[in-house]
């Protein structure tokens, strides 16, 4: 049965309805100067039950990890433990003001200090800063640190950042923000960085390389040490995009293979919920070369307890206050819960699950590169001239399965990128494989079923062209465009 979709708030708002009872003013009133006073404020007016029903019904229109299998490649949609929610909601954390004097903030400071140490240990680095608010901000942090390092040494001719053609879009966008030029490095026939091309690109104008390992094809860069050496030999530094860290916890420490600085996506690897797009957290960790360039403040231990500290040549702050602290509490809880041995087990099973699923669907959706994959693999979703990857994705929704990532990485045309994570049972993987094969059969027998999918969702396929042409970006715009 198709679920009823709620109207918009302004359509159900009725004048005079209230959802919250507020206190009295209690003190004498002070006049607000007329010239500064606002004249009119229009917001929805609802009862409390209206509010609860509206947002509850909205929530039921979402697929989520808590309700559906969500094999969205590159996004690591693993289970988000509820214990993390409980610990981050402890009033001592959730009600802790960021400008509370350090003496009265020792609990939060200790947590930051310990998480800095844990992340450094997991990645093989000297120091971490928990400032960055998300992966992309972690990338900007790392590239700005590399820039500051070269500038500090008086080496100002380095203008280029090398990026494999399989990289996430955030990498090149970050490089532009950091004032560098992007030089794209092709991939070889095995899906790894083309080492010849990389070596040819390395010279004294190269600031560094941004590399994701395992890469976005779900493959480990076999010659990672040669890759990092080539960059180091020309005086560049290597940035590690930690988006795929979930494959290598306790398996390999990026700091051990020549990566100089990396970010973690706490909302991927360390199980903090994605929240429909955020918040995330993107701490960075680095080796001795770049420690003094880290963003701050970071927490250090002193005779008087834990305290903030700004690294000597810091690139500065990435955001106000101390990072996405609520997410840090969740990640810290997750690391404690798993311990060192548990983290390794998570990665082992993430990789086992991916290889198992890759095997189960290989007949119809063979992986583009026929190698042992890491935590995810990339196939081609296009099944015929009529049935494209997007059609397969939309049809999967009808079976209650979220679609894999589609059309990424860009180097695989019609890519279908599948990441099951360690959380899922073998039965769920079998079921997904069966559905995927069934959809492929439908594509042969009744292609229109896929072309017109989804059929069972609250809405049929949505028109993105209409949205981009008409630009109805708020309820107020509906007065001009009737929808």
């Amino acid at each position: 049965m198709r679920k009823e979709r709620p109207k918009l708030l302004f359509e159900i708002s009725r004048p005079g309805r209230r959802a919250v009872r507020l206190p009295e003013n209690e003190v004498p009133e002070t006049e607000i100067p007329a010239g500064l006073r606002r004249k009119k404020l229009t917001l929805p007016e609802l009862s409390e039950l209206d509010v609860v029903r509206y947002f509850t019904r909205l929530s039921q229109l979402n697929f989520s990890i808590d309700t559906n299998f969500y094999p969205l490649g590159s996004c690591t949609m693993k289970y988000n433990p509820k214990l993390n929610e409980a610990t981050s909601s402890l009033e001592g954390f959730s009600g802790h003001h960021p400008l509370t004097p350090m003496k009265f903030s020792q609990g939060s400071l200790e947590l930051i200090y310990r998480l800095q140490a844990q992340l450094s240990e997991i990645s093989g680095f000297a120091q971490a800063s928990l400032q960055p608010a998300a992966g992309a901000q972690g990338e900007l942090t790392g590239v700005l640190m590399i820039r500051a390092y070269h500038t500090h040494r008086g080496d100002t001719k380095r203008r280029k950042m090398l990026i494999p053609d399989s990289a996430h879009g955030t990498n090149p966008a970050t490089v532009t923000m950091a004032g560098y030029e992007v030089v794209e490095i092709p991939s070889d026939t095995e899906g790894n960085v083309d080492l010849q091309a990389l070596k040819a690109a390395c010279d004294d104008t190269v600031a560094g390389l941004m590399i994701t390992n395992p890469n976005t094809l779900g493959l480990f860069e076999r010659r990672i040490e040669e890759v990092t050496k080539a960059v180091h030999d020309c005086g560049g530094l290597v940035y590690g995009d930690g988006a795929n860290m979930n494959a290598i916890l306790g398996i390999l420490r990026p700091g051990d293979v020549g990566i100089d600085v990396m970010h973690f996506n706490l909302h991927k690897t360390f199980s903090t919920p994605h929240g429909g797009g955020g918040p995330g957290a993107g701490p960075v960790a680095t080796n001795e070369k770049l420690v003094e360039f880290l963003p701050g403040p970071i927490v250090e231990e002193s005779a008087d307890g834990f305290r903030f500290h700004m690294p000597k040549h810091t690139i500065g702050r990435m955001k106000a206050f101390h990072g996405s602290f609520g997410m840090l509490v969740r990640a810290f809880t997750y690391i404690l819960s798993n311990g060192g041995s548990g983290l390794r087990e998570l990665s082992e099973i993430a990789v086992l699950n991916a290889n198992y699923l890759k095997h189960k669907v290989s007949e119809v959706f063979p992986a583009k590169y026929n190698r042992t994959c890491m935590h995810e693999f990339v196939s081609v979703g296009k099944l015929s001239d009529r049935v494209h990857t997007m059609d397969v994705a939309k049809r999967l929704l009808d079976y209650g399965m979220h679609a894999p990532t589609v059309y990424f990485p860009l180097i695989v045309k019609e890519a279908l990128m599948i990441e099951p994570t360690e959380s899922e049972s073998v039965e769920t993987l079998d079921e997904f494989a069966a559905v995927l094969l069934k959809v492929a059969k439908e594509a042969e027998e009744t292609p229109e079923l896929l072309e017109q999918a989804p059929h069972e969702m609250p809405l049929r396929r949505l028109d993105e062209v209409y949205a981009a042409k008409n630009l109805v970006l708020r309820a107020q715009d509906l007065a001009e465009v009737e929808l």
Binding site: Y407, E464, V465, A468, K469
Partner: protein, 129 residues
């Protein structure tokens, strides 16, 4: 796929055609087809000047935004204002009503150096194989 015989082309899929003293420019049928439904066209200011190969605007679909490059150096003397309300014209009539700009060329000889329709067709055939 259409290839206007009267036009000259760049490998980045722009075309240029003589229009009296001026040169009209747009994007090819191949370009509009690979972009899909075009939802927005950004055009330069009248009176601005560009060199051959400079990016002068952007053609946007929902899945891609593509810079468009000058096939020829010169000053922008006309822009196709109709595209603001109906960018889809670039899809339906790329060589006609879907033109983007008219240029007063600073070096009209540049036009001859561009690809002919046949050469451009051969070039695009190679892209699809």
């Amino acid at each position: 796929m259409n290839f206007d015989k009267d036009a000259r082309y760049l490998e980045s899929h722009e075309w240029a055609k003589k229009d009296g003293e001026l040169v009209a420019c747009g994007v090819s049928d191949y370009a509009q087809d690979s972009l899909g439904d075009i939802v927005f066209v950004e055009l330069p200011e009248l009176g601005s000047s560009f060199n051959k190969g400079d990016a002068f605007g952007v053609v946007e679909s929902v899945k891609a935004a593509s810079d468009v490059y000058m096939p020829i150096s010169g000053e922008i003397v006309e822009i196709n204002g109709d595209l603001e309300d109906s960018p889809e014209t670039v899809n339906s009539d790329p060589f006609g009503a879907g033109w983007l700009i008219k240029v007063k060329p600073s070096n009209p000889d540049e036009l001859e150096a561009l690809l002919s329709a046949d050469d451009y067709k051969r070039f695009t055939d190679g892209l699809d194989s």
